[in-house]
Symmetry: C2
Subunit: 170 residues, 2 copies
DNA sequence: ATATTATTTCAAAAAGTTCTGAAAGTTCAA
DNA sequence: TTGAACTTTCAGAACTTTTTGAAATAATAT
């Protein structure tokens, strides 16, 4: 398979994958394109290679910068902005965890905490509801601390811990 | 806060949360509703409580059954089908992991494996691309084994491992 | 200052997804 | 069988999200 063909397939499938995880398909494609481009690309490159409009390219590049996955760069003697994606897969993963945690897990935890405290416990029904909130809440908390530790750790250490986890007998 | 009010809030926010993770908002709401209903509900209950059509209720209840999160039940002397959600949060989590792994992670791994083998390595550019595929691939593989182990373990054991992970100095 | 080039914005259009409700299908008791 | 009770289907409608592209804004060179 030719390189260009392979890149195209990767970009397209990464887009599909993203869309199943609540990420705009185009944003995921732009990210994939930058991931497999050793050189930085400018807006026109992205527009051309993905066949999307200027507005769309601009919007999704900015979203990627917002997510901390892409940086603007400049080339000497050129006025255009270029875009470069972090290539280290572990760093990318950590960044995604960090952002989703902040944007989604934390609001969820706040909601659960509120609900578990605010409901009047005055009937078996209420108690059951509260119990569910407490369970979900401790679950979300556990996920939170685990993810926080991952975000702060380096790849080797996490892989090592994973190995121990796998070898340990359950 | 009254119980009904709290339930409504939970159902609505769980729906929002779901939609950020690529789950149909209504499906997440139906799941939430069943999670906080100690009794099984029938299609009409769901339609009424969420104010949705019969078709929509039917479709999302079936999807939940498909995901292994909800079971059909019957009440003695009644012809109607009732629906009951698994309440054990750990079991629910495992089921979701299991299904997403099967539906999404495995296709992704296949794609990466193909791409890393099929591309002609004949230039520095191709080598770089292949390197990225290899990295993503081993990453996906690591996630796969870790999740597989989780799916097969019980809550206590996973929480215990998590504790060790958190206490270990990085 | 002005022209030139690059970037951002945003209203309207397109595309994609979800929902409705009536009709068709199924099940089962009589 | 028949028909009442319930479930499923699906075409079109409603809604949501994404995309476009032209205009506004910004940045830089001359």
């Amino acid at each position: 398979m030719k390189l260009d063909e392979a890149k195209k397939q990767f970009v397209s499938e990464w887009g599909t994958f993203g869309s199943k995880w609540g990420v705009n398909r185009t944003m995921a494609s732009v990210h994939a394109l930058l991931l497999v481009s050793s050189e930085s690309l400018c807006a026109d490159d992205v527009m051309e290679q993905l066949d999307i409009s200027r507005g769309n390219a601009n919007m999704n590049l900015r979203a990627l910068i917002d997510w901390g996955l892409v940086r603007k760069t400049h080339k000497a003697g050129e006025r255009k902005e270029y875009f470069y994606a972090e290539k280290d897969v572990w760093k990318v993963t950590r960044q995604v965890i960090k952002e989703r945690k902040r944007r989604e897990l934390e609001p969820l935890r706040n909601m659960l905490t509120e609900l578990k405290h605010d409901v009047d416990v005055e009937s078996p029904e209420s108690e059951e509801f509260q119990k569910m909130m407490v369970e979900l809440s401790s679950f979300a908390d556990a996920a939170d601390v685990a993810l926080e530790k991952m975000v702060k750790s380096d790849q080797k250490w996490v892989f090592n811990s994973l190995m121990k986890f796998l070898k340990a007998s359950s």
